[in-house]
Every structure is written in C-alpha cells, then in structure tokens.
C-alpha cells in the first residue's frame, strides 16, 4: 500500500521538476535543448506580451474572485433561509459547475456574438442600449466578458461550499442575537462572518488557484485576443510551447506561476490552522 503513495508522488513531482528544468533550457518541439540558465526568464521580463499576460492574470483573478466571493456568499445566505424547493434549487444551481467548461464557454461565445447576441438583442428591445455591444471586440470589453463567464461558472462552487459552512453554525446563536436586539447586518457581521472565516479562507484559496491557472475559458472564447488583451499566463504558455513550438519558453512561463500558487497554498495552510484552533480541536 505504501508503494501506491510512492508511485503517485513520483508521477507528480517528476513532471513538476522536469517543467522547471525545461524552463532553464532552450528546448524546442522535437529538439532536445541545452542548459542556458536563466536566459528564458530574462527574455520574458522584457517581453511586453508576457507582462501584459501577467497583468491580465492578476486582474482576472482579483476581479473574478472578489465577485465570486460576494455573489457566492450572497447566494449561500439566501439558500440558507427557509425557502421552498430548497433541495431542487440547490441541485439545479450546480449545473454550471458540472457541465464541461469548454462546452459552456462555447455557449458564452454564442451569447457574445457581435451580430446575433441575444443579450444585445434583448437590451435593445427593452431600450437600454442603441447599438449592439461588441463583447469581444475591444480589450476591456473582452476582459469583462471573460470575467463574467468565469464568475458564472464559479459561483455555484463558492455558494455550495459556504452553504455547507453556514449550516454548521448553530441556530441558537442567532436566537440569542435576536433577543439581544441585533440587526440583520450585525448578526452577519458578528456571528456569521467570524464563524465562516475559516471556510471562506479555504474556498477562496481554491478559487484563486483555479482562476489564476485558468486556461479553458480563455482558450475557448478569445484565444488571447483581441491584440493579446486577454492572454492569461496559462494560455500564453500554451501558445508559446505547443502552438509556437518553443517548449522551454512555455515551461518558463508555467514555472513563473509557481510562486503565486505557493503564496495561495500558504494562505490556505494558515486558514486551516485557524480552523483547528477555533474548533478547540487537537492538532492531529
């Protein structure tokens, strides 16, 4: 049984190491490279497209995660109330999360179509806009559209996880707060929020990790366009490594994603620590 764990570690750590190593060579598709030190990283730092991709990734992650947290938390709070058809709503709500990302991304692409977008059509009919929105045509609109699609996909995960956390908060606390005359906001601020922080920390770590390394959505909807405005680090590394054949450069880009991930993981670690302490539980 121990070998099972050992094999697993080998299969994951080896590619990871290999990735870092590839970043230090000048390997191209079909041609083994030689060690060239930090050359790839140096050239990347002078690369405008790469810097734009880093900026995009940061922006994308920050905005999308913040929105996912706020909307997800709101949805979780709504679902935590006594409402009709709760189970059914919860089940249906998860659909965006389980449906294959690429396929739903295609739907968004169709929704964002410059000529036949149903969103533009409806808004025009209602009289809010005069001309059709060019969702993917200019850089900022394209970024916003992608973020919207990402948030759409991410909300159910955040909401369901936080809902599970909310359900562990004893009702008695709310009853006590009501008797003490606490307003709805005060109850949220002083009861719900502190008890939910550990779970929020973990959920947000996951959310940040997966948003930061997102690939599918961007690749399916814009492929990094227009004018590289929506390239994320992951899509850029695919573009350079597989489409462009510069394996080493792509690997260098992926390697540069690692520090960010480490930061996120550390964050998660402290989140978990706090949880254990809060429950007054033992440290394993």
């Amino acid at each position: 049984m121990i070998p099972a764990a050992a094999i697993l570690l080998f299969f994951l750590t080896y590619p990871l190491g290999l990735g870092v190593w590839l970043g230090l060579t000048d390997t191209k598709l079909g041609r083994p490279g030689v060690f060239i030190g930090l050359e790839n990283f140096r050239s990347l730092l002078d690369d405008d497209v790469f810097r734009l991709a880093v900026f995009n990734t940061m922006l994308y992650t920050a905005v999308a995660c913040a929105l996912k947290l706020v909307l997800g938390l709101w949805l979780a709070l709504l679902l935590n109330r006594n409402i009709a058809f709760k189970a059914a709503i919860r089940a249906v709500m998860l659909l965006p999360f389980i449906a294959p990302t690429v396929l739903t991304a295609l739907v968004f692409w169709w929704l964002y179509d410059p000529q036949f977008s149903i969103i533009s059509w409806s808004l025009q009919k209602v009289g809010i806009i005069d001309s059709y929105i060019d969702f993917l045509g200019n850089p900022n609109a394209a970024r916003a559209s992608l973020i919207a699609a990402n948030v759409w996909r991410g909300i159910p995960f955040v909401a369901i996880s936080l809902l599970a956390g909310l359900q562990t908060i004893p009702v008695t606390l709310y009853e006590a707060a009501t008797l003490d005359g606490a307003s709805r906001w005060k109850m949220f601020r002083h009861v719900t929020y502190p008890l939910l922080t550990p779970i929020i920390a973990v959920v947000m770590t996951f959310s940040v990790l997966f948003t930061f390394t997102d690939f599918q959505l961007v690749y399916a909807i814009t492929r990094g366009g227009p004018l590289n405005a929506t390239h994320l680090m992951a899509t850029l590394s695919f573009q350079r490594a597989i489409a462009g054949g510069q394996l080493s450069e792509g690997a260098a880009i992926s390697t540069l994603m690692i520090p960010f991930l480490l930061a996120a993981i550390l964050f998660s670690f402290f989140g978990l620590q706090r949880r254990r302490w809060q429950q007054g539980g033992r440290d394993e």
Binding site: L12, L16, R81, A234
Partner: protein, 281 residues
C-alpha cells in the same frame, strides 16, 4: 429569524435575488437547448421568429452532428477514457488513503499533507513537461496518453476525499477483525470498502466529471480526429473558418453536457458531499 419579517419584505429580499441568480445561472443552458433545435432560417432571424422559442423545432443539427462529423467517436473516446482513468485512480486512491490513514507509518502525516499539495498543482503548469514525457514514451496521440495522465490530478483528489471518509470509520471494527485473524487486505476489502461505499461513489462521480471536463491535456496530447475527446473535438473540429455553425455547435455542447448532467442528477447528494468534503477536510 424568518417569522419576524413580512411577506412582501421576504419576497423582495429573498425570492427576487434568488430568482435572478437562478435565471442568470440557467439561461446559458436554456439558450444552448433552444439553439440546438432551431432550423437554419430561424437561427439568425430574430425579427420574424421569437428568438426565445424554436417555432419549427428540428433535429437537423443533431442529425448533422451524429452523421456528418466524428462526434459519436469523440463521445465514445471521452466515455472510455473517463471510465478507465476513474477506475484506475479510485483503486490506487483506496490503497493510498487506507495506508495513510490507518497504517500510521512514519511520516504518514507528511504524505497526507503532500497529497493535498499535489491536488493543488494545476494541469496548466504540468502540461508541457507531461507532453515531453508522453512523447518520449511513444504514446503521443493515443487514448492511452490520456488514461495515464488523468490520474495525476484524479488520484490526489480521490485520495484526499477518501482519507476524510476513512477517518470516520471506527477503529474498533478493525481491531475486532485483527483479533479474529484477518489480514490487512481482508480488512480493507471486507470491512472498510463496504462501509465506504458512499465515499467511493462521491469520489467516483467527481473523478468521472473531472475527467469528462478535462481539456488542456486532451488538447495537447491528441492531434488526430479519431481519438479526440468531446470538448477538444467540438472546439477544434466544429469551429472552422469565419462562419460558425452555431446550431451544430450548440448541439455538440448539449450532447456533451447531457451525460454528466444525467449522471449528476442520480447522485446529487453524493456529489455535493464530495465537493464540500474536499473543502472542509
């Protein structure tokens, strides 16, 4: 404190936002389905037809998808790859999780920790080195490449989930069995596994959907059309040129999402348990 508010306030603060959420979350699926059943003339003509409903529903798009493209083959590939890799990962994870949780060898805690870290390593970092590995092993452009690489993200996930599950099974049961002279393997097969069925289902369903949705490995390791999976096939083969055939594209998206949706509908509770379990542990 639901009983403290009036009905209209409740309508405004609960049902209205909830309805909006549901509408936004579900509309893309509705739109996908409606588009699938629209004919060519209806698809782009919003002035003569009501865009929100197919006036003359047709199976044209689905027919085209299944008879003029290699879509059935992609479905088959996806199914095959997902089944096998889920099965492989589950069997490995059961052994690993049991070993980590119950054998209590030196450093098992650290291995448990690193499994969790491994789960956090995303495919978009690993696809380049894995591509070179796959190439060296000579399995580039085969289904085997996917079957072998999918477990790299499935095993950590399943192991993590099952570890949490095994922890809930009482120690005493095992001690009894040990006294009765059962071996570790017998304990695992006869006591732990039957008790862990719900956990196994959660992990299995989750792993299956994860491998069904996987995109970046399949995109990188596969180039011939006959071995592509649904997401890759739809995106690379159906999207061609400047004219997008939205009808068949949406049909492809619908038929590709349906299998997971159906599977999911049977096991909603297990799925939710798996998801929240993975976060809570």
């Amino acid at each position: 404190m639901g009983y403290l508010e009036t009905r209209s306030a409740r309508l405004l603060t609960v049902y209205l936002p909830l309805g909006t959420f549901l509408f936004v979350l579900l509309f893309p699926f509705y739109w996908m389905t409606v588009t699938t059943f629209k004919g060519k003339d209806e698809l782009y003509d919003y002035s003569r037809f009501n865009p929100f409903w197919p006036t003359h529903p047709t199976l044209e798009n689905i027919k085209k998808l299944f008879f003029d493209t290699q879509y059935p083959l992609w479905l088959w590939n996806t199914m095959l790859v997902s089944f096998i890799s889920t099965f492989v990962s589950l069997s490995c994870s059961v052994l690993a999780a049991y070993a980590i949780e119950r054998l209590r060898f030196k450093g098992s805690r650290y291995i448990g920790m690193s499994i969790f870290l491994a789960y956090l390593i995303p495919p978009s970092i690993l696809f380049i080195p894995l591509a070179t590995l796959v190439f060296k092993l000579g399995i580039f452009d085969t289904r085997l490449a996917l079957i072998l690489t999918y477990p790299t993200f499935l095993i950590p996930f399943c192991t993590w989930l099952l570890m949490g599950y095994f922890r809930t099974i009482p120690f005493e049961l095992e001690e009894c069995a040990l006294i009765d002279g059962a071996t570790r393997l017998q304990i695992l097969v006869k006591i732990i596994l039957p008790l862990a069925v719900p956990g196994l289902i959660s992990a299995g369903i989750f792993a299956f959907t994860l491998s069904w949705n996987e995109f970046i490995y399949a995109l990188t390791f596969i180039s011939s059309s006959e071995v592509k999976t649904v997401p890759v096939g739809v995106l690379t083969e159906l999207v061609e040129g400047d004219v997008y055939h939205w009808g068949s594209l949406m049909a492809g998206a619908l038929c590709g999402s349906l299998p997971v949706a159906i599977l999911y509908s049977f096991f909603v509770e297990h799925y939710v348990a798996g998801m929240t379990g993975a976060v809570k542990e």
